[in-house]
């Protein structure tokens, strides 16, 4: 397998020493089938063990290795070096505080995720002995695309609204709320609407569409958010024009 020398320019930040982040250059001998994560692993193993970043599965499933690669939110395990020329600039995900080097503070996203209750809230609890909650293939297909979200937060790094207005609940969390709202077994929509049908929820979205462009799993969060807007608007009209129709 052919090798080539690539130049990585990696953002470094040591909270115990640095006042501000800085860039550090590394030359890495790379194989043709390597991804950016391989190059970072090579640096850590051979050149600089202090380099800090998150990763786990190396196959675009765990969602840990999201970072900015030449200014674009990417999974480092899915960013093939052969698609890049010149110096490759690697930075932590935009719009999140930097904990250390390429590791960001993700507490904000995790708390927002918890707020939207991304789990099944059954309409009617039934005893275990009554069997599973059944679903047709059509009912499954209705929301299946949104189950592919791996919480990698690339959509938050791409979203200009989240960058400017951090209280925005954001693409992935609202999309996951939508995923459960669409589920025929679920009865938790009213609870989730209190979080997402608000000004810091879906109405902060102006449909820039960047989230869907960068999503590595083709979840299309932008589509989900527009569907939430339409459903919430229908709710409003129903409540105000036809109050006798109880939701």
């Amino acid at each position: 397998m052919s090798e080539r020398e690539i130049e990585l320019e990696v953002l470094r930040y040591d909270p115990e020493k640095d006042e501000a982040p800085r860039f550090q250059r590394y030359s890495v001998p790379c194989k043709s089938d390597w991804v950016v994560l391989d190059a970072l692993n090579h640096v850590k193993a051979q050149q600089d063990p202090t380099l800090t970043y998150r990763w786990s599965c190396h196959m675009a499933v765990c969602g840990s290795c999201g970072m900015m690669i030449n200014g674009e939110p990417k999974l480092a395990c899915k960013a093939f070096l052969r698609n890049y020329t010149g110096v490759i600039r690697v930075e932590p995900l935009a719009h999140f505080p930097i904990e250390r080097d390429l590791v960001t503070v993700i507490d904000d996203f995790v708390s927002k995720l918890a707020r939207v209750k991304p789990y099944l809230i059954p309409k009617h609890e039934k005893p275990l002995g009554d069997g599973e909650y059944r679903q047709t293939p059509a009912e499954l297909k209705r929301y299946k695309q949104y189950t592919l979200c791996i919480n990698c937060m690339l959509c938050y790094a791409a979203c200009p609204e989240y960058g400017l207005i951090p209280r925005f609940i954001g693409p992935a969390a609202i999309t996951l709320a939508h995923r459960y709202n669409l589920d025929s077994r679920d009865g938790g929509r009213e609870q989730r609407q209190q979080e997402i049908a608000t000004s810091e929820g879906v109405w902060e979205c102006s449909f820039a569409g960047a989230c869907s462009e960068v999503c590595p799993e083709h979840v299309d969060p932008a589509g989900a958010l527009q569907q939430v807007k339409i459903a919430s608007t229908v709710d409003w009209y129903r409540d105000h024009l036809m109050p006798w129709l109880k939701r």
């Binding site: 505080p97 930097i98 200009p160 569409g209 589509g223």
Partner: protein
Amino acid sequence: MAEEMSRRPYHREVPKARWVLDHARYMRYMAREATCLFIGAYTLLLVVGIGRLAAGRAEYEAFLDALRSPLSIAFHLVALGFAVYHSVTWFNLTPKALPVQVGEEFLPDRVISGAHYAVWGLLSLAVLFLAGVF
């Protein structure tokens, strides 16, 4: 027992206006948003026209004459260009907002956006018909 970690997260500011220039997709997005200024301006022009019509025949004739000036024609061409860009970009996004599931499968995107284009065409024909073009 793990050692207490010293935390001093570094916060990066998003530049208030310059962020638009950071990426081509942000510029495309703002271009789509900016088209509404021209649509708004054209709507104002129509409102002024109605006002001139209410003011009397002479005023309305003068308004129509003003519309024939090169400057006005240039504005109309630019506004038409932006209106088309506005409509096309939004119509192409409609399948995201309005997915239609028939049985198990979703209708293809081109059916959803195509229906919008068809209604757009029909309404435009109706307006031209009412205006006496045919």
